[in-house]
Symmetry: D2
Subunit: 346 residues, 4 copies
């Protein structure tokens, strides 16, 4: 059994790791931490976990050495800026780290420093970017995995096949993404207050959301040329789910079949990517609670654009599910091990 | 492997059976039927089932004999009135039947005929009432299980310990229940139209809902005296979940500890019943997607009443989950086999 | 023009007063206050008020004397405990006070002190209870109006005709009420966090909600005998609306026609009460944004109970709308003046 | 008083006309029609209208001549294809027509025929396009107004100032729009079924939605050159509201101030357009129930794009509200007459 520690367990990504790992046949949660609620039983924080984590108490980061010595992998579910300190501290420990924040996602830490406005303190980390379908070969041997972000997973999975096949103008990309409110976290703020957001819909982070450079890093790598995008996030009045609508100009002469082939070439054998096909319209509820990414695409002969649409559950494929998928890769398990949750529909 | 047939697979209870059985280690779905969509692949009807039921086509009831010969158990997810015909037709087949409708829930078919306003055509059926926690001894040997209704499961589980222990005035019971919209089914009607019900809440079926006699039948049996109740259903603008608020006058001299003990005596060892305790307030989202029933209770010394509150997912513990639990009982499996879905929260 | 001040304008009741008064032909808002956001323009706090309150800044309670001297009526939208200090301070000013909190709702301040757990510091206030339909004769000459609470308005309007006509057993009353989340206010707390409450439903305040004694005070007065009730609130995952389901035992010999007559006698001429009739099922969305209270009722011959169902918008008839109705009464206007908002459906 | 007829009154646009006109000081509804519910009282169809339209019965189109003779204006709330027959039939009557469908929106009926796939039978109609802010001079004298569509109103209002000022590349426009479910109408279909759409979000009509040519027609006119766009609609799980996110490449040398000025030049004096400013993020709930269009815009120096965001209530500014605004123009009233509904927030 893989022994698991979860640092920052009271946020939604931590909670979701616990939900998924409760039934994982090859892993078990040994430690969970929270600085604000140290000593509390997790079922007092998340009542839905009764019968799975009865009696399990939250530890503190002060116990980090003990945790590292008694676990095989530590998931970090803290706000950005904290994981790099932990990663540095655990360099000499024989424990893998999967960080669900932004600290270890960038090849060039200067990009991180610019967009996150904080100094990177672990620049020589042996970290790899944790988008499982595209980087599993690197993830396999990683000490630290910088788990891909939620919006970025939805957006990169949608556009990567076209970027890689060289079918689109890399300067023409517009990504209009919509996320459920769990993406805004459990921290209290007026913009996440029920009465404010119910029966509402809004836009935010226009031109400056931190997932932008992460998307550009990956697409630049696949395209082999600089990619610069407009990424625009919106907030949906639902709990879970991201739908990403991605626009790009097709290069001259590219056919619909070329586009179809690009998706099939990349994803036909991927368990967690469901190719709904050309003309298909994904829905977030059809992936709710699961690790799937549903993809549909459309060609517009009038404008010469391709529109790719992806749907994921932001807490699963966009966070905890992909983190477990990465853990499975790191420990040589089948990628879908423990991730067979059927979408909860309706 | 238990070979399963699902008759009426395109309704929400049929869909939910497929979701649960997709990961059941001891059962597999062999046949699914729909009269309105015979021949269609189920993934065209329920896209979220992609990767689990790819290529599986809906059969017709005309294939019933074939289905009965090649399955061990048939779940029926049809509107009331249809199951009794099927049950009669399959009397000589070596196949178990678990009906999720109302046809086989009543000891006295005259009660069924009165409340459902239809003649019962299978009065000599060897059927038992399928509320797993209270009738597992009978279910074990049943040919036909009349799976308990959604509201009834929530309500009986809440009140049965008090009725059995003789703590409440059996003429004083008021059950005020609230259900998510999936309980109204997938059939199109204005009252289930999104724009009509969103940001809305309403009451219906006051004094005449068909789950009333089912609740009375069970509580009468446990109390050993005639129980008559007011059961009032309401529609919540959510997908899943029932919360049932049950009021009863405590008999003279009954203490809070007596009430606590009644719940502990009945449910302390039940896997699917989570006793949140006296003063606790269940929430429907904390059981969403799972087979749990959460219970909390309150004593009001001012009025002498006890208020018991139960929460279930109407499609799981209130329908498909309990049906699988009943299947597990019938086939000698552990009751929780294949039913370990952790509630999907948040 | 009636000159209006609103103390505590940044809460939802304050906001709602501004919404309603923006179009009131005989009143205009002259002052609004907030201690936490003094000096801020109200349109920064509530962007929907652009074009109605452009440039209007929030004042402080420190300006209370100035406000009192330049207004005819002051609405107080503060948490309980604050209004009585203000009321005392303004005793000598020629300004009416309409308090939307609990401070001035009780004849017997000992009841207030017991349920609100705070000392009442303005026991000799000339205050009247502000349930417009039942107390307009007193309200007309009041200095201070203790505007009725949201749950209480829905519950008293439902049961008062039966209590007054002596048709029900006053010890048998059970009120099961459900409220939208705006009733929990704009203050941040986990239980009002979007992701926690969306697709959720829960119960709270069982046996001890502060609206209980307010309901009992009114029904006791109408019935002419001590009324004691179980009042149980629930939280609906919607913004606005209360639906109150009220159960009571009918006295021996009471007929359905007696019940019908009781409602007609009390409400046939009331503008804001819409008698949907016996057998009718009110919906909260049909009163959304309006000052109406919709009523339906049901007789259960099996149990001898009557079930009365009321629906209001908690922020309008349950707070700001009724407060304006009370203002209209105090200043001799037609009660519906400025309150002609048609319900916003769908 | 302007005497009003509403043809097709049982759809949501018809209902919304009744809601708005109930309080219009210069107009009154004289006739309403429905073919499916002729003879029914409208309050049986829309219970929220009690106290405003008590006793008013639905007529039939067979009464059209009578209606035309006794009204000054007829609003048509029927599916496309029906209005042109009515318009032709009423050519000789002294009554104005405001059609809320697509029949009279196009200068070139061939465009209509291509996108709507139906023959236009009233090609010589004296119709004008009913986007009030941009066409009021033409609307003033029109016999027939083809009221602008919901998505189109949100999209054109967002982009027209930039097109008119020549600031954007007219081939670069991408419009990603999101609408509440009332936009899908009251007709029953699975995609509008509560349980299917709740906690869901989806895309539809990619590359082929009928509002595309309407947007192109207007923007082409303002830009003075052919505009071709990608318009992509999505369905929000809310009742009302459209948010339209519009992307375009800025022409070389265009500054942020140029963009600001374009909006101010066009809209500074418009009552129903609220310029939230550069960097602002509109929300649909802040216009709910009102005739406002909120606008915010963003410049991205990295990509050279401008992103304009508009929010409207699809049933008000996107349908019935704008229709009343057009009526006000036609009859020489102040445009905001009867349209002073404050947004219903929260």
């Amino acid at each position: 059994m893989i022994r698991v520690g979860i640092v920052g367990a009271t946020g939604y990504t931590g909670e979701e790791l616990m939900r998924i790992l409760a039934n994982h046949p090859e892993a078990e949660v040994r430690y969970i931490t929270s600085e604000s609620q140290t000593g509390t039983e997790i079922t007092k924080v998340y009542g839905h976990l009764h019968k799975y984590y009865d009696g399990v108490q939250l530890k503190s980061l002060q116990d980090l050495a003990e945790i590292a010595e008694n676990t095989d992998v530590i998931f970090i579910g803290l706000p950005h800026g904290h994981a790099m300190a932990i990663g540095k501290q655990l360099e000499s420990y024989d424990v893998k780290i999967i960080d669900l924040g932004g600290d270890y996602r960038f090849y060039d830490t200067a990009v991180y420093e610019k967009w996150y406005n904080v100094e990177h303190t672990h620049k020589d980390a042996k970290a790899v970017y944790g988008l499982a379908e595209w980087y599993r070969d690197r993830i396999r041997d990683a000490k630290i995995v910088g788990n891909a972000g939620c919006y970025t997973t939805a957006s990169i999975l949608a556009l990567a096949p076209l970027a890689k096949a060289g079918l689109i103008d890399t300067k023409s990309i517009v990504i209009d993404a919509k996320s459920g409110m769990s993406g805004a976290g459990r921290g209290l703020k007026l913009s996440s207050h029920f009465t404010e957001m119910y029966d509402n819909f809004t836009i935010y982070g226009v031109t400056n959301h931190r997932h932008t450079p992460e998307i550009e890093q990956a697409l630049t790598e696949f395209a082999g040329e600089d990619v610069i995008v407009n990424f625009t996030p919106h907030l949906l009045p639902i709990s879970r789910g991201i739908l990403s609508t991605c626009y790009a100009d097709l290069k001259e002469g590219v056919t619909a079949e070329d586009v179809d082939k690009a998706f099939a070439d990349c994803y036909a054998d991927e368990h967690f990517i469901r190719l709904l096909g050309r003309g298909a319209c994904p829905m977030v509820k059809k992936v709710r609670g699961s690790n799937f990414c549903d993809l549909g695409w459309h060609i517009d002969p009038r404008t010469g654009r391709v529109i790719v649409v992806s749907a994921i559950d932001n807490l699963v494929k966009g966070a905890a599910g992909q983190a477990v998928q990465n853990m499975n890769i790191v420990f040589g398990l089948d990628e879908s091990c423990g991730l067979q949750q059927v979408p909860l529909y309706p």
